[in-house]
Symmetry: C2
Subunit: 299 residues, 2 copies
């Protein structure tokens, strides 16, 4: 029996799921209609296409991600840390949709660290909430991506987090930088471990990045290893940076699958940091269910 | 009386100078005919256009820069560190040009640091050689640019160096990165000092780069400060990295003029590192003269 419709509505894609009471996904929908790529008819049309077939009275619809950004459908202001399912549930933004029903959008979260530096996330907080059900009421999580998030959870609430622009930096360097212009296909995965090792050498990241070029010119590395090397160096830099902020003797839980999940597992293992993996879709669905449950609890 | 023709022949420009015995520049020439932008007629045509009017028998012509790269006119193989004017002079590549005369191309230099990481430069070594005449037989130099070079000189020879991709990283982030998309004109120079301060915060460079975005979203920084902030953060990261490789209690000599020279002066001063400035064109001309003098010395 369907208990919830969940939307993961980001910048470049929209995914929806019909979820039953125990968190099992009954049906899935996916479209490229992220907030920067809406169809004719805009948000309403994209929404109707995603959930129209599933809509029924009393079936809650929750959305998370950039749809609640200032540049999204409507802004759902950030909830400051520390916060968990209860604080998120108390700050939902309700939109009355064209079909006469409601859509509730989760706010993102904001954090100001000890140095007064602001940080924000939208969507990742939902995945984290979904990781806390199975006894994980505190700990350290990493959510790799364009903007990787390291998230510290205490007593079932998100206590703080830090963003690393690892994926974005990899993308612009791979596409536009002279230092990566020697890259060749097919990729040689052995470059990744070399990049991880290079990340630990002294002199700073902007020094080490030049190795991507000189090692090829020098004949020490094939062009096929350039991209994996760059990836290893940047993920390695993220880990070194995170070690300045967090105690990495505790286990880290990686919320990622596929190539990215594998890469972070390898990188953490190479530094002897205990880590486990969590499937992101499962975490997302469980996170929405946790917010839905918090909504129904007496305050 | 003209004693030397010097060419600074790089990737995107060709500059030439007619130089008299005491290093004064008598005439200058500049064209956009760098090695990636040659005119019809190729290297010969670009060369003839630059020096044709000055050519006379017995007047040496020396060129430095990417013209001697594998992708240049002819490859002048790197001279390994340590090396100075004598080693460079002994490794000149001679090209017989279409006008019946000769052009001599300076080799670049290569270095392999303690960790076995290869590094290379072409052109910067000439400027360094030109800084050693006025008593400066040893010390630490920085040559800011797309690929900044930190160069250590001992007993009049280049002992080692390290490359920082500061300028290139600034360029790709400014042009292509989401994190810098909030940048506005006209630039607010106050952002530079904030970027320098931000560079010292913990968590790693890929963490700190996200501040470029969140500080604007948060209202803490105007869009006009974004580019100076990013510049300060990257130059600050270069200095922190260089401090891992070099003793920065010794004075640093900055070979740069204009905005870049000012930026590095400000950055070094902010960290209490003594620094002085050297005019790059003067250094370049003096470097060529030093190699020319070494050529004429008995071996």
């Amino acid at each position: 029996v369907a208990a919830l419709i969940g939307l993961d509505w980001g910048t470049s894609s929209l995914r929806a799921a019909l979820i039953d009471r125990d968190g099992t996904i009954l049906e899935r929908f996916a479209s490229p209609h992220g907030i920067t790529n809406l169809p004719e008819g805009g948000y309403e049309a994209a929404f109707a296409e995603a959930v129209g077939a599933w809509r029924e009275p009393g079936l809650p619809v929750l959305a998370s991600g950039m749809v609640g950004a200032r540049t999204g459908w409507q802004e759902a202001p950030y909830v400051p840390c520390p916060g968990g399912a209860a604080e998120i549930a108390a700050s939902l933004l309700t939109i009355r949709t064209g079909d006469g029903g409601e859509l509730r959008i989760l706010p993102g979260m904001s954090f100001r660290n000890g140095a007064g530096v602001p940080d924000v996330m939208r969507g990742e907080e939902t995945q984290i909430l979904g990781c806390l059900g199975d006894g994980g009421q505190s700990g350290l999580f990493v959510l790799p991506g364009t903007h990787s998030k390291w998230v510290r959870v205490e007593a079932g609430r998100i206590a703080g987090f830090a963003t690393y622009v690892t994926g974005e930096l990899f993308g612009v360097l791979r596409e536009h930088a002279f230092i990566a212009r020697l890259a060749e296909e097919p990729e040689d995965p052995a470059g990744f471990a070399e990049g991880l090792a290079a990340a630990r050498r002294e002199g700073g990241l902007t020094r080490r990045l030049f190795e991507t070029r000189t090692r090829v010119l020098d004949g020490a590395m094939p062009g096929t290893a350039v991209r994996p090397f760059l990836s290893g160096m940047l993920i390695g830099a993220e880990l070194l940076g995170a070690a300045e902020l967090y105690d990495l003797s505790q286990p880290v839980r990686i919320v990622a699958d596929g190539v990215l999940g594998e890469a972070y597992s390898t990188a953490l293992a190479a530094r002897g940091i205990p880590a486990s993996r969590i499937e992101p879709e499962r975490a997302f669905v469980a996170g929405l269910a946790a917010v839905d449950a918090a909504l129904k609890e007496p305050a």
